[in-house]
Structures are given as C-alpha cells and as structure tokens.
C-alpha cells in the first residue's frame, strides 16, 4: 500500500499537493500512539491509587511521651509494666505502649512492639545509651530492620570478658547488643534497633520519654 502511494505521488498534480499530503498510515499511527499514551497515563494515575489509603486508628498511633508500657503477651498481657517486671541480664520482655488517659493499648501496629531489657548495673550501658534508660531498663523497637521479623530470641554468648547476653532475630540471625543502643553485633541487619527513650515514675512504672529515635521497621 505504501508502495502504491509512493508511486502515485508524482502523478498527483504538482509539488503543492504533495507537500500538503499526509499519508493515511501517519494519521492512523499517530492516532493509535496518542490513544495508547492517554490510556497509559490514565492507567498510571489509577495505579498510583493502588496503594491502600492509610487510616491511623487510635491503637495504631506511635508511642508518645508519657505513654505507659504494658505486657504484650503471657498471662499478664495488657497489665502495666514496672521496672521489677523486667528480669536483669535475661531475655527481653515484649511490651505495647498504652495511652495513659484514654487507656488505649497501641497494639494495632506491629511497629509499636517494643522490647525491654535490664542491665545489672548502669555501667553496662554505653554513654550514648545510658540517658535513654530508666533504672537500668532500656527499650528498643522489636521489629528487625533486616526483614521485619520480631527480634524474639535472647542468647548468652561466652566472651573473653565473661558471658554477654545479646538480642537475636530468629529469621536470619541478626544479633544486637542490648547494652549499646542495640547496635549490630553480627548478621545481616543494616541498622541497629531503634531506641525508645524511657523514664520511670516513683511507683516504678516504665514511662515513654519520647518517640523512637530512628525510623522503625524494615523499610530501607
């Protein structure tokens, strides 16, 4: 067909006609092109909205200053945690933050899950971590920065300086130092666990002193 047109061109009356002439194939081609482009843009606009709208329910609010901490599991699940509930130099205790006024336990978002450890002595903590602890209790996010598992395990490893407890993620064996801002001791985690600053009241209840210091979760 294209050949026919090329052949017929000189025969069809003069240079003016030839210049003005747009060939049928070009019209069809550009129409299809524009059509596809519009369809593509529309699809893109629709695709952007494929991410679900984020609605933050009260129990999904992040921990805030003044929140209490409650047991996240076990027989005393939901009860307020005090310093003495966290065993020293032993496996971590899991906690949810709880709004002190509304009595809302913020367990609607896994990113609020917090783990608590307790040193036998304040000197166990590094100088950076110590100000964020309350009566030797430190709090970290329980979500492993590697691939989002809960840092569930506690392991005691012999070192030259004596046994040293460490936080272990069971998924890919990332290890964190509980006494040094949960820095990475080994394994694939790209970041330490985020620190949750703590304080305590005269009754020994643990109180959140501020938001997590770094971004919680496994997002890069």
């Amino acid at each position: 067909m294209a050949d026919d047109q090329t052949v017929s061109k000189p025969a069809a009356a003069g240079p003016r006609r030839a210049r003005a002439r747009v060939n049928r194939r070009q019209v069809l081609g550009s129409t299809v092109g524009v059509g596809l482009g519009v369809a593509g843009l529309s699809a893109l606009a629709a695709a952007v909205r494929l991410v679900p709208r984020i609605v933050v329910a009260p129990d999904q609010e992040p921990p805030a200053q003044g929140d209490l901490l409650v047991f996240a599991q076990g027989a005393r699940s939901g009860q307020v945690l005090t310093v003495s509930d966290v065993p020293p130099d032993a496996a971590q205790v899991f906690a949810w933050p709880m709004d002190p006024s509304g009595k809302v336990v913020k367990k609607g978002d896994i990113h609020n899950l917090t783990l608590l450890v307790r040193a036998r002595d304040a000197s166990w903590y590094t100088a950076d971590e110590r100000p964020h602890t309350a009566q030797n209790v430190a709090a970290y996010s329980a979500v492993c920065p590697h691939l989002c598992c809960t840092v569930s395990d506690w392991r005691t490893e012999p070192t030259a300086g004596g046994a040293h407890g460490l936080l272990l993620c069971p998924c890919h064996l990332s290890r964190f130092d509980p006494w040094a801002g949960a820095r990475v001791l080994g394994g694939p985690s790209p970041r330490p666990l985020p620190v949750l600053p703590l304080t305590s009241d005269p009754q020994g209840r643990l109180i959140v002193a501020g938001a997590f210091l770094t971004q919680v979760g496994c997002a890069t």
Partner: protein
Amino acid sequence: MYQWFEERLALSRLQRKYGRKAFPVHHSYYLGELALAAFVTLVLTGVFLSFNYQPSSTLVRVAQQDVPTAYASILFIDSLPFGPVIRSIHHWSADVMIAAAFLHLLRILLTGAYKKPREINWLVGLALLGLSLVAVFTGYALLDDAFAVTATKIGYGIAESMPWAGAWIAQVFFGGVYPTADSLPRLYPIHVLWFPLMIMGLIGLHLLVMVKQKHTQPPYAEQIAPRRILGVPLAPYQLLSSAVLYFLYLGTVSIIAGALIAHPVQAFGPPGVTTPSVKPEWYFLWVYGVLQLIPSTWVIRLPWGGSVGPEFIGGVLAPVFLAIVAVALPFVDTRRNTLRYMELPSEHPWRTGCTVGLLTFFLAGTLAGYRDDLPLSTAWLWALVIGAPVLVTVVAALVLRRAYAGPPDRRPANRLATAFTAGAVAVVVLAVVGLAYLWARPAAPAATTAATGSTGSTAAPVAPGAAAAGAALFQSQGCAGCHTIGSAGGTVGPNLSHIGGTLTREQLRTMITKGNDGMPAFSTLTPTQINALLDYLGSLK
C-alpha cells in the same frame, strides 16, 4: 453418541489433522507433563479450598482463643470430610510442581534444547517457573498462622527493599505495610485468580510453541529415521500415556497426603508478637541461606534517594542474577545445534559442568541456611557457597572431557564415565563439607568450656590481673563490635582469637594507637589501658 458429535464437529478430520502428530518418546519428556499434572491437581483442589476459605484477618473467637478469620477457616476445612487430605494434596502438589518444573528445566539445559529456534519456549518456561514460585509464596500467606505471617513479612521486606519503587510495589501487593487488614483481601485474588490465570495462559503458549516447533528427539531417532519425526501419535497413544501418568500421580500424592497432613496450622498457632523459629520451604532455603551470609555493612547508596542493603542483595540480587543469566543463555550460546535431536550432556562438558555447579550452589546455599545448627563460621560458609560451585564445575567439566576424549570406539564406556563423574562430584562435595566441618570443630568444645563459667575458653585463656582488665577494656571500648574472639564479636575486622600468635606486642600497639586500614586510632586510651589490652591480646594464642 460418537456419531452425534462426529456429524457436528467432524472429529475424524480433527484426528487426521492433529491426532497423528508424532510425539518423540523418552522418559525425561514426562517431567514437564508431571508439572502440568501437579498444576491441574492444584486447580482442582484449589476450587474446593476456595469455597471454604475466608480471606480476612479479623479476629474471631474459636475455642477460647482469638484467631484470625482466615486461620479459623483453615480449621474449618480441616474439620470437613477429606478436608485435610485435599488441603495436603494442594500443598504437596505445589512442591511437586516446583520440583518437576525445575527438573524439566535441567533437562532442557543439559540437552541444549534452549537453543535457536526454541528461545521463546525457554523464556516462557522460565516465566512459568518464576510465576509458580511467587504463586506458592502467596499461598503460604493465606494460612495466616504464626509461620505464614513470619514468612510473608520476610517476603514483604524483600519486595520493599527494592530501591525507589519497592515501597509502592510492596504496598500494592500486600495491601499496605504488612500485616494490615487489607493484606489477605489482596493476596487472595493474586493467589487464586491472577497467578493461576497467567500460568494457564503461559502453559497454553508453551504447548502451542512446542507443537509448532516439534519436540526434540532422542539421539537414537537419528539412526532409525534420519530427518523425520519418530514417535507415537498424539491420539490416542501420547494422550493415553499422559492419562496414565496423571492418575499415577494423583494416586501417589493422595497416599502421601493421606499419610502426611501438610502444615497443620495448630502446630504453629495464630500469629503472636514473637517470631517462631522457622525455615522456609526447601526451594527457598538457598535464598534464606544467602540472606544470612550477607553482612550488615553491605549498604549501597544510589542517586535520587535510593539505597540497597543486605536484604536486597541477598533476597533480590542473587535470584535476579541467576534469572538474567538464564534469560541471556540462548542468546549467548549460539553454537551450531542439531535442531531436532537432544544433545548429549557428555558432548558439552562445560555446559554440563556449569549445571552441576549450579546445583552445588543451591546445595551450599541451603547448607548456609542451617548456619545456626552447623559448626561452620561465616567465612567457611562463604568459601563453600562461592568456592564449591566453581570447584565442582571445573572438576566435572574436566572429568567429562577426559572420559569422552578421542574417537568413540576408544572412549571409556559411557556408563562408567557417567558413574565416575557423579562419584567425583559427590566426593568433592563431601570432601569440602567434611573439611569445613573438621576445620571448625576445635572451636566448639572451647566455647562450651567458656559457657560453663570458667574465666575464659581453652582457645583463648585469660590470665588474671592485667589481661582480665584488658578483656574488660576489649568489651567496653567496643573492640568486640568489629572483632571476634572465641565465638563472640563482630565480623567487620579480623578475627582476633589467635592474634597473640601472629602479631608482636609492638605491632599490636601501633595498630591500636595509630589505626590501620579501616580500623580507627584509639588515641584516648591511657598507656596503662593499652598495656592491659596488649596483655590480653598477647594471651590469645
């Protein structure tokens, strides 16, 4: 009856045109059919499951326990007559489909059937394997027990780790930051509708292209009927043998499913706050092993705010690298081919060697997945994952070349050579594993001694006094963050378990005060502190 259809559909003409198509015969040609049999079974059992399953994570109370609705619906399926068996057939069929598809791929690879003109079907096959793996993964999420939530979190994290678009992609497929109420309603249609549809479409294309291009034939066909297709007619013989295969498969998998109920959700319980210690399915174990090996320091910043970390390198880059190699293969390997006949693995020693090396890599990666149970250090596992495949590739290729050198009548017997190759490969693998095991073993008793409460381990005895003070400094100054002594410490810097035997006191002093190649200078230490540290390090021999 036949006449009724014959008058309307002209079945005999259809039979004359297509039914007489010759199908070459070889036992390895049934691997693809086995994968198809498993897929058909998955669809049939999936229909039953989908009628009873509820994709919702809203909590409901079952037997004094709050469990997700989806979890409760699995319990319901398990309470139905034949429910657990049908669910188990679904589970084991997924395993068979992956295994059969992979073996089918190996057959194509080893016999050179990916070469021109069969590139299209090679790519379609790769896509089918990839889709099947993702489909299986989304199936796991639907159980919504503690295991499923953990596995899906990891999948979410891997998807999310892709630079720039990762968060968007992950949130689209997982319904926000997993786990949310939107997650199961999104993963469910992906598992029961979109992936099966895509797989069905590609299977159709796969078969169509195969019929159009003709199947490869075993080499004997060339001697019997050169340049012609030698085989059995599609109908009835090939269809009959396919039916026999299908019913054999269904019978076998039913017996297995009846005996071994797959993944009882009660064993894992509803999702809680903690992570159960679980390993993925066998076909994902190598990725799991590689994920554990990538150190935390492998973070690369990219332009426009992107960055990739260890989870991307282990979870995306490693599989994608293999996928790229596979996709490129038919376009790189453009050697002359026989077109209609299978190439013998023995005639292509390097290709066969690489295939065996690939299998060794999968095995070594799987072994790395058992890192916590094995007395192997990270360095040894790295050597195993990288070194063993290379070694096995070279050994297998050289052995094959030697065994099949010279004119056919003077070669060692084919069977003998094949057995020899297999034996050599097995010996190499066993030797590497055994050596690694023996090498690492002395560390184990040492660690046990230390754990029982003595002042140090036998491998790293700590003298009282200054050395003990040095040991304390080693911890408080953060040395252990980068260096390992005995079985604890970081892996950024060298292992110092035996440093007293390799470096002198003065070399160590310079290293600590001045720093060296990535190690910072610890200039704030007092001379007394440095001497204590040197006493301690010197005692490690």
